[in-house]
């Protein structure tokens, strides 16, 4: 029985230690906003924050996570969808199908927390998530907009 600190709440997860964090979150904790896209940490749809750093949860087994490490998922990024990245996303209609966007938003929020005013090159480097619908240009614009709104604050 693993203990996880998810979105500020300690939850017990009855899953084998090799279970990736992604599936613990989705199938045991019941938080399905974090998506499965590849299972090999290649697409970023499963991105969550671990102690403030963005990680790809599909390739991170529960055994690698300590009880006191703080996990934040899209559901916990803000209580009411008011994180500046989420607001910018709505203002610019960034998502298309939306399936990759939880991961995009988590990656963008982590980028802005570390780099409040990222350049395009820094965005390119940080945002390696895959979107098949083709929202990249709006993701970039959304990050700049959120940066202007003080996402890091």
């Amino acid at each position: 029985m693993a203990k996880l600190n998810v979105n500020g709440r300690v939850v017990e997860v009855d899953a084998s230690p090799d279970t990736p964090l992604l599936w613990a979150l989705r199938e045991h904790v019941g938080l399905t906003g974090t998506k499965y896209g590849c299972g090999i940490a290649a697409c970023g749809a499963c991105s969550v924050h671990l102690d403030g750093q963005v990680v790809r949860s599909c390739a991170m087994p529960l055994s690698a996570i300590a009880e006191d490490q703080k996990i934040v998922t899209i559901e916990g990024l803000s209580p009411d969808g008011s994180h500046p990245v989420q607001v910018a996303w709505r203002e610019l209609d960034v998502p298309q199908c939306g399936f990759c966007q939880s991961g995009m938003i988590m990656a963008a929020a982590a980028l802005l927390a570390a780099t409040p005013r990222p350049t395009d090159a820094q965005i390119d480097e940080a945002m390696t998530n895959i979107c098949r619908c083709g929202t990249y240009n709006r993701v970039r614009a959304g990050i700049h907009r959120a940066a202007g709104a003080g996402a890091a604050g």
């Binding site: 290649a42 709505r90 209609d93 199908c97 939306g98 966007q101």
Partner: protein, 721 residues
């Protein structure tokens, strides 16, 4: 709304309000009974007493914005309060029970709006007429004295008002009007506006429930694996080897070609499936190699027999007698749709009912497939749609759904969510067809084209998907963009002699409609070859095209628009080179101009793409911009990275590590010119993908002097020749 405590029994009976955690099924769906207390004005419009407006949707939302666009169509005529609008999917079972009240469910071919705009607008108009009539009846005045605006009916002479919600119940009891006139385009106030999408908010908080996210009480999860060689079979498998693994409930054979593990969770099912010993019988297809397929395509390039797609004069004679000839062979590979959400479906099967919850691009086809797999009449089954995590054509066909039903059938009464791994999605795709093309132009002494022959060799989608739609063996879809006329792809050039023909060469790898479909390679073939002719004859590529386009003003208008915006004819920035392309398809005229640079090390940078679209009517310009940007991501992914290859009969690429796609750092700036000329309805989801690759390929030639004639670019050395 749904509760989170529905009993298994309620789910099994498909009772009204069948409940999934976090997911609401519209009342009354599964039993086909009339929904209770629903103030339905007509099939498209429901208005609640508190003025909430529910617009019904037959087409599926997969990111392309059709939900918002169709809502704009209905709202234009309904005169409701936009802020009160929500939408809901109708089920194909409901439609079946009501004599197909919602028409076609197919969401493909960029036709969601253009093929239903007329009847959904009439649905909105008819509802408004009935609401006005109901208010007039309440007041005892002629309806002609009343008008409706923003969800309120006003009696002109007295200024009295009634809200739609106040008269909806009476309106619902009225007979539909016999005459339903529609507004002239000049009077539109909703169509043509860049209203924000109706479905963005839940996509920013993780709340939107996709098929993969569905949960039901007592649900099990199945992970299937099909024989990696198409057409192969299961020879044997050792269920006992994994039966004792954690969470495993069932180890099943599914049809002749598939096995599946059913467990409490996905991870348990996948872990057991990976450990399951399976022996496959690949059959003859197991000997097919990529080289086998290439040789077959090469043979077709010179075959005597071929289906004719477009013919003017005598191209062969013109070429034979030409002063000079230009010839080139192009090739386009298999590609996977790779939507972000792998295939999945949740099914409850009992001996008398089968209910399916899934993302599909065609609810009606899903119902047919599910009923057949369930061994039940369609009236005993239904499809409950959720939004798609990407479609791109993959979810117009239902191989994955059939297997999901066959799995659930072996676990009667239990909700089973069947989920594919990404690896399964990659090797069990329905692929962009593989083709090659030999183009031969005859030129006179002045370098003018006297004849053009385009010989396409390769796979036919229809022969695999809809063989009954073949025309005496000929696949008309093969010639998208090359046809003499029509809405789905008319050629934009006039050649004195022309022959476009197709030597059909099919393989065991199943082809399918793939965003842009056959336009993708046809546009590369023709648009890049015309660039070759321009270069060979010392002509400017734009000037050559203009000369050939005198009788195609709409094609020419979009081409001119991108040429002007990119500054064709003026010098580009140092080190930057330009390419241009145009094509017509899916009812719309599009063109693109690209600016690229190629470093000494052969690294490509696409700086800027200007794209123009004449889609006749522009319903939501911002949505069109989003679709244009997206079409370039999809099209440039295909150009830069997209290739599936065959080894021992199976697809070799298994995940995004071996099947890479475009990332943010490779994405160019996209400038979209929306230039609707009016009078027709064209699609927007696909068209601009057609010109993505040829515009960039032509720019690469300008930059390097290298003519790249096969996709993807990752196989080519782009260092200057």
């Amino acid at each position: 709304m749904g509760t989170t405590t529905a009993s298994r029994r309620a789910v099994l009976k498909g009772a009204a309000g069948a409940v999934l955690l976090g997911f609401h099924i519209p009342a009354g769906d599964a039993l086909g009974q009339a929904p209770a207390q629903v103030p339905e004005i007509n099939a498209w419009v429901v208005i609640h007493p508190d003025d909430r407006v529910v617009l019904r949707m037959a087409r599926s939302e997969m990111g392309q914005g059709t939900r918002t666009g169709l809502a704009q169509m209905i709202a234009e005529e309904l005169h409701c309060d936009w802020s009160k609008i929500t939408t809901e999917y109708v089920t194909p079972g409901q439609s079946l029970a009501r004599n197909r009240a919602w028409g076609n469910f197919l969401t493909a071919g960029s036709q969601g709006i253009r093929q239903s705009q007329d009847y959904v607008r009439r649905g909105g108009a008819a509802a408004r007429i009935m609401l006005v009539q109901a208010a007039a009846g309440r007041w005892g005045v002629p309806a002609a004295e009343c008008s409706a605006r923003n969800g309120v009916v006003t009696h002109g002479p007295t200024g009295r008002t009634l809200r739609y919600g106040e008269v909806a119940a009476e309106a619902a009891r009225l007979s539909p009007p016999a005459e339903v006139p529609l507004k002239e385009p000049g009077a539109w106030t909703v169509i043509g506006q860049s209203v924000p999408r109706l479905d963005t908010a839940d996509k920013t908080t993780g709340k939107l429930i996709y098929g993969m996210d569905l949960r039901m009480p007592g649900m099990l999860v199945a992970v299937p694996r099909r024989c990696p060689v198409f057409g192969g079979r299961v020879r044997s498998f050792d269920a006992n080897a994994v039966r004792g693994m954690p969470g495993v409930r069932h180890v099943l054979q599914v049809g002749e070609s598939c096995v599946a593990v059913v467990a409490d969770t996905f991870w348990q099912a996948k872990t057991a499936l990976d450990a399951l010993p399976v022996a496959w019988d690949a059959g003859d297809n197991g000997r097919v190699q990529q080289s086998t397929i290439e040789a077959m395509l090469d043979e077709g390039l010179n075959a005597t027999e071929a289906f004719v797609g477009n013919s003017v004069g005598d191209a062969r004679a013109a070429i034979a007698g030409a002063a000079r000839r230009v010839e080139a062979v192009y090739a386009y590979p298999f590609q996977n749709h790779a939507p972000m959400e792998p295939m999945n479906a949740t099914v409850v099967w009992t001996p008398t009912h089968c209910d399916v919850w899934c993302p599909t691009q065609n609810g009606e086809a899903a119902l047919v497939a599910a009923a057949q797999a369930a061994g039940l009449p369609q009236t005993a089954c239904d499809i409950h749609r959720v939004d798609l995590g990407g479609g791109f054509g993959r979810r117009t066909t239902h191989d994955w759904l059939i297997d999901a039903v066959l799995i659930a059938r072996q676990v009667p009464g239990v909700p089973v969510k069947t989920m594919w791994t990404r690896e399964e999605d990659m090797v069990q795709g329905r692929y962009h067809p593989v083709t090659k093309c030999k183009l031969t132009a005859g030129l006179d002494a002045n370098g003018e084209i006297t004849g053009l022959h385009m010989r396409i060799s390769g796979q036919s989608i229809l022969s695999f998907v809809f063989p009954t739609a073949l025309q005496n063996g000929r696949d008309p879809v093969q010639f998208q963009g090359l046809n003499a006329g029509g809405t789905e792809g008319a050629i934009g050039y006039g050649f004195p002699n022309l022959l476009i023909d197709h030597a059909m060469r099919n393989t065991h790898v199943p082809p399918h409609f793939w965003r842009g479909v056959n336009h993708n390679q046809n546009a590369i073939y023709l648009e890049c070859f015309l660039d070759e002719v321009a270069h060979a004859t010392g002509q400017d590529p734009l000037a050559l095209r203009r000369k050939l386009m005198a009788n195609h003003p709409k094609h020419l208008a979009v081409l001119n628009a991108v040429a002007e915006r990119i500054g064709w004819g003026s010098a580009p920035p140092a080190g930057v080179h330009r390419g241009i392309a145009q094509q017509m398809g899916f009812g719309s005229y599009v063109a693109a101009a690209a600016e690229v640079s190629v470093s000494e090390r052969g690294e490509l940078k696409i700086h800027r793409i200007v794209a123009a679209t004449d889609c006749g009517v522009a319903v939501n310009p911002r949505q069109i911009e989003m679709q244009v940007e997206g079409s370039f991501v999809y099209g440039l992914s295909a150009l830069l990275h997209g290739e599936c290859t065959v080894k021992d009969g199976a697809i070799e690429q298994t995940n995004f590590d071996s099947y890479n796609v475009l990332r943010m750092e490779e994405m160019p700036k996209v400038e979209t010119i929306v230039m609707p000329s009016g009078g027709f309805w064209g699609g927007v989801g696909e068209p601009t993908i057609m010109v993505a690759a040829p515009a960039v390929l032509n720019a690469i030639f300008a930059a390097t002097g290298k003519r790249i004639r096969s996709v993807p670019l990752k196989r080519h050395d782009l260092r200057r020749a």
